[in-house]
Subunit: 227 residues, 2 copies
DNA sequence: GCCTGCATATCGTGG
DNA sequence: CCACGATGTGCAGGC
């Protein structure tokens, strides 16, 4: 890892073109060749960058200034013209052991698979990741009357999720084995459901269920409950 | 901007929980309080981070090691336990003049609005950002027969874009003023159209148009380019 | 290797 | 301030 603080100008050409006027920025060069151009603000996203794999060539511009040319195989290129170097250091970081996550959609699905009745009384799990021609349904369940219920789970429920569940229901309702006790219905489950998504779901006869992740986790392991 | 290279362990708690075991990483502290934890690989995305606005408090852990506690108003927190500092520097970057982009969807829409006939022969523009109850249609046009044609423009055409255009068409076809000369049809225009999106569009009677951005820009006045 | 779907997405724009 | 659409999205998992 090489970190350079420098007054520089950056030009990107690839899927779009982009330009950064001359200013002082932080340039991070990772050992896989990738380059990040950061300003002192914004968020984690750099102003400009080149994703690996790519190569960096250091050279001289027409007027004798240092110039880095970063190129990817796709043809994308990043040209960094350096007017003044403020700092330049290298560090050996080694390989990172990587990030461990907890609380993403997969965990929500696991918990709801164990407690389907929290979505609707009497609901029983048939199987997780129920296969269809256009992809797996998160949970396939059966209600007290034996009718099939497809559940789509999202961390945040937006309009796309409702569209996805609608496509599944359209397909599932062509299957005689599933519709024997009546049409397959849908439940859209999420920790948070956006108003527009709720309107669309309701309009299509899809039920909405707001899920409390912490409460579910509490049912799973009572020792984690506060009271 | 403060840049620290250190052997550290990181724990995030917020919308999810995440953990990074002890290893050497680069910590970038921006002047707005935001913190980035980078490894020597991956891409532009840090392993872990905290978005502004947030506050950083430097303290001591139970066993006397340096500990940073980064907190956002939302309750999200990042705890960085530092075992060994390899480097620590500060730099005044000033305010960045910002990024200028060219070639995003907005520009594609402008160019197609000027040259609608490249989508389909005889097509004439009625208006850009044609309003509907569920959002504006990118281009509303009329074909040689006077029939209304709704155009949805994407840089990359995927299934979501087809769904979006389908919703517009459903609504537009309820408007007697638009359907006087026949049903409103749709064109899905993009620089690249994914196979599944094309299949879905075709199935719904929506035409697909692959757009050549460079050719369109060539038809346009070159002096109007940003740079 | 391509394709699909999730994400602590981030970011701008328009109400 | 909230909500929605675009993004050089990145990234992991499946086929």
């Amino acid at each position: 890892m090489r970190i350079v603080v420098a007054r520089c100008q950056v030009d990107y050409a690839g899927r779009l073109t982009a330009h950064l006027p001359m200013a002082t920025r932080v340039l991070m060069l990772k050992s896989d060749g990738s380059v990040l151009v950061h300003s002192d603000g914004g968020s984690y996203k750099p102003l400009n960058w080149m994703s690996p794999p790519c190569t960096v060539k250091e050279g001289l511009s027409e007027d004798g200034q240092t110039e880095w040319l970063v190129e990817a195989k796709s043809g994308d290129s990043l040209r960094i013209l350096i007017e003044e170097v403020v700092a330049d250091s290298r560090h050996d970081l080694g390989v990172d052991p990587g990030l461990q996550k907890d609380g993403v959609e997969k965990h929500l699905q696991e918990l709801l698979a164990e407690h389907p009745a929290t979505l609707s009384e009497g609901l029983v799990l048939v199987r997780r990741e129920f296969p269809t021609a256009i992809g797996p349904v998160d949970l396939m369940c059966r209600d007290a009357g034996g009718r099939s219920v497809a559940v789509e789970i999202k961390r945040r429920g937006e309009i796309d999720g409702v569209e996805q569940l609608t496509r599944y229901l359209e397909l599932l309702n062509r299957d005689p084995a599933l519709t024997r006790r009546g049409a397959v219905t849908g439940i859209f489950a999420a920790q948070e459901i956006k108003p527009q998504a709720r309107v669309l779901a309701t309009d299509r006869g899809i039920a909405c269920a707001v899920v409390d992740y912490d409460a579910l986790r509490g049912m799973d392991d009572p020792s984690q409950r506060l009271f």
